[in-house]
């Protein structure tokens, strides 16, 4: 359990202690994934439903894998969300979930706040797998997990986030999580893609990518999706690549051992240059692996309070139990 939480809706809601507790638990599960049989019975007997109202490949696979590695039963529900009125289908979905006795619901939805609606209406635990342009907490967690594993800490790091901040749920979750853990976050992107009063997140808004790169420990590059945004926001991908694309030349302003991240899928040659994507600083595939571990941790911790009578967590890795009991702000290295 994370605190006494039923749901994980966003990193804004979590305390630093809770974040650390999840990250510590994730490390334990990361080790499980390296075992010859990367599976534990922690969620045996529990059922998780993956509801994807919006197309997703890696997040859905990552959650499903995490659930299976924890021995949960899984059911998947996918819809384009275009045929039925969104509100109706969400309400009906909630009722169906209730009727099927599902314990954990993973939801991705095109509407910000859709997971909150489900959480209000369900006894099941709800995990936000990306809601509109609000948050994508498990992506934020896996990014921070990757940073912490790579750089040994989070506090005091300089993290640059580059791209369309306004429409990025990845950016919001990263900003909340990183600032709570003491990192310094600088953002850069087209002024048309900066949300109103963004500095109130406690971030610095750089005037250019170059400025944001200056001395950065970590550069997190957001996917640009001009085709999904209003056409008035930016002239073209070509212009975007020219002004905001992260190239090895621009990367030189960062620390020599800078960590380069991208939540995927990448537009190579647009927001990230080919040589940066495949370069020595890139941890992009590591992020994918870590994603499974982080999602296992979240599922495991949220399922904690689903345990009635016989705990479903009997065979949980011992370290997970310890760290979960006494969260530590310091990574154990």
């Amino acid at each position: 359990m994370i605190g006494a939480r039923k749901d994980l809706l966003g990193l804004e809601d979590l305390s630093a202690e809770e974040l650390v507790s999840i990250l510590d638990t994730a490390r334990t599960f990361r080790e499980v994934l390296d075992r010859p049989i990367p599976k534990v019975p922690s969620l045996r007997g529990l059922t998780a439903a993956n509801l994807f109202f919006e197309a997703s490949t890696r997040t859905r696979l990552s959650f499903e894998l995490a659930e299976k590695r924890l021995s949960a039963d899984t059911v998947n529900f996918q819809t384009s969300g275009s045929s039925v009125s969104k509100g109706e289908s969400l309400k009906d979905t909630a009722r169906n979930i209730e009727a099927m006795g599902i314990h954990l619901v993973v939801i991705r939805h095109q509407a910000s706040g859709a997971p909150h609606y489900l959480a209000r209406n369900l006894d099941a635990g709800v995990i936000n797998a990306g809601d509109g342009t609000h948050e994508h907490p498990t992506q934020g967690l896996l990014d921070i997990f990757t940073i912490r594993e790579r750089r040994g800490k989070v506090a005091g790091l300089r993290v640059a986030i580059i791209g369309d901040i306004m429409h990025s749920r990845v950016a919001r979750s990263n900003i909340w999580g990183l600032t709570k853990l003491g990192a310094t976050v600088t953002i850069a992107g087209p002024p048309t893609m900066m949300p109103a009063e963004v500095e109130r997140f406690g971030v610095t808004v750089a005037r250019s990518v170059e400025e944001a790169m200056e001395g950065a420990d970590v550069v997190n590059i957001l996917r640009i999706q001009l085709e999904r945004q209003r056409s008035t926001l930016y002239p073209s991908l070509r212009e975007y690549a020219r002004v905001y694309g992260v190239t090895s030349e621009r990367l030189k302003r960062a620390k020599p051992d800078v960590t380069v991240m991208h939540p995927g899928p990448m537009n190579r040659g647009v927001e990230i240059a080919q040589d940066v994507a495949d370069g020595k600083h890139s941890v992009i595939l590591e992020q994918v692996t870590n994603g499974v571990a982080v999602r296992m941790a979240v599922l495991y911790l949220l399922a904690g309070h689903k345990a009635q009578g016989e705990p479903p967590v009997e065979n949980v890795p011992t370290e997970a139990k310890q760290t979960h009991g006494e969260p530590s702000l310091h990574p154990r290295r």
Partner: protein, 439 residues
């Protein structure tokens, strides 16, 4: 003469005539007979006077709301003229003007006549329809405005949508000028609004919601001020929500431009922070804005920049509103909470006196639309509202007469219990449980 009515012992407020004193209000034959000793002797000495004692309460001309959505014809699952006017009566309103964005819209004579007839048959308040500016409210072709006004419409508006085309707005102002009715503008630039769902600011940023900047409203208010100046027509700005709009209206008035304005209670009491938690009951258009806007609007009501107070009563079904924020429709109900909310927002903090509030809920809206009533002048229809400003009550949407339950004020404790509403001398609302006199 049928037996006259004497509403006794209350504080009579008739701002049109500068009256504020404890006095009897005499009613005979559905009309105001007079106040106290001024009422004709044959009325006062009638052998069968019905006395309604209301000690401690306020007696004022029936409240007038010039911005409601009654949803009939075509959206009777949300509200009907019957239920909507029952809600009006319960809220102390005796007169409402209803917007034409029904299904189909009120854009031709039979539809205006239908509303007038339905209101006569089933109404608990006087209903004055507002006709569409353009056919189908599509913003392209003007309606037959003179015919519609002749049929009973009191103004034109495409409310729900703006009159987007400046040329159409200009011509509508020119055509309404000679009729003496305003064009009521739902001021919103559709391009700037985009697919926004709430005020653009820190809260929308945090919640990851598409924002509607205040300029979406203010640019149209500014444009319309120029068009009103060009045509000498009368623009009435509906539901002002932004500080900048109020400032533009203030300057327009100072230049002698014929621009009037209204706002709604929620803009004076809530800010965009109410959207926190993605509660669809806090979703309306224009959206709840910042604390700065809220404070500026209160100031604009006080200095008269905003002439009158409306509700933008917009009922929706529970099915529509019970959803995620994005999918939910814009709009909240207002008729049954407005008086209490305005007392709370304006009178309790002493921004306005009680009399100044009543002025903005009676005389001023009547003036804007050229409606009868709004005063206790002898001979005027006996539209009367009696309420106890000190008696507090709790908002329970489940008790509403309106079919709409979509209010963000559920559970709020408000001043100003309505004790009696009367239209043309006929009681339209009188709560059974409330004793007729309050100390």
């Amino acid at each position: 003469m049928a037996s006259p009515l004497c509403i006794r012992g209350g504080r009579v407020l008739d701002p049109a005539r500068g009256i504020d004193r404890v006095q009897d209000l005499w009613i005979a034959n559905g009309q105001i007979a007079g106040l106290g000793e001024d009422a004709p002797a044959d009325v006062r000495s009638h052998p069968q006077v019905e006395v309604i004692p209301v000690q401690g309460a306020v007696i004022c001309p029936g409240l007038v709301d010039i911005h409601v959505h009654l949803r009939e014809p075509g959206q009777e699952e949300r509200e009907t003229i019957e239920t909507g006017t029952r809600a009006a009566a319960r809220g102390g309103f005796t007169t409402v003007a209803c917007m034409p964005n029904t299904a189909p819209p009120l854009d031709d004579r039979p539809r205006i006549e239908y509303v007038v007839r339905r209101a006569r048959e089933s109404g608990h308040a006087r209903v004055f329809p507002i006709a569409a500016v353009t056919r189908g409210q599509m913003g392209e072709t003007l309606t037959e405005i003179e015919d519609l006004i002749d049929a009973g419409a009191v103004a034109v508006s495409d409310d729900g949508k703006p009159v987007r085309n400046a040329e159409i707005m200009r011509r509508a102002l020119e055509l309404t000028r000679r009729l003496g009715v305003p064009v009521i503008q739902h001021a919103e630039d559709p391009d700037l609004k985009g697919d926004g769902v709430m005020h653009e600011g820190w809260t929308s940023t945090r919640l990851g919601m598409r924002g509607i900047p205040d300029a979406a409203e203010s640019v149209i208010v500014a444009r319309d001020a120029l068009l009103a100046e060009l045509t000498n027509g009368h623009v009435h700005v509906a539901h002002v929500s932004a500080a900048r709009s109020a400032e533009i209206i203030r300057r327009a008035k100072a230049r002698g431009i014929r621009m009037t304005a209204e706002t709604a209670p929620h803009y004076l009491l809530l800010t965009d922070e109410a959207v926190q938690g993605y509660d669809p009951r806090a979703k309306m258009n224009p959206p709840l804005r910042s604390a700065r806007d809220r404070d500026a609007l209160i100031e604009a009501v006080v200095d008269g920049t905003i002439d009158c107070l409306a509700t933008d009563h917009a009922p929706h079904t529970e099915i529509e509103k019970d959803s995620d924020f994005d999918s939910a429709p814009f709009g909240i109900v207002g008729l049954e909470t407005a008086l209490g909310l305005y007392l709370k927002a304006l009178v309790e903090p002493k921004h306005l006196s009680l009399s100044e509030l009543i002025l903005r809920l009676t005389v001023n809206p009547c003036k804007i639309l050229g409606l009868p009533g709004g005063t206790f002048e002898p001979g005027s229809p006996a539209d009367v509202t009696v309420f106890d400003p000190s008696r507090r009550w709790t908002v329970r949407a489940s008790e509403f007469a309106s079919m709409g339950r979509n209010t963000p004020f559920e559970g709020w404790e408000l001043p100003g219990q309505v004790l009696l509403t009367m239209v043309g001398g006929r009681v339209t609302y009188r709560p059974d449980a409330v004793p007729a006199s309050a100390r």
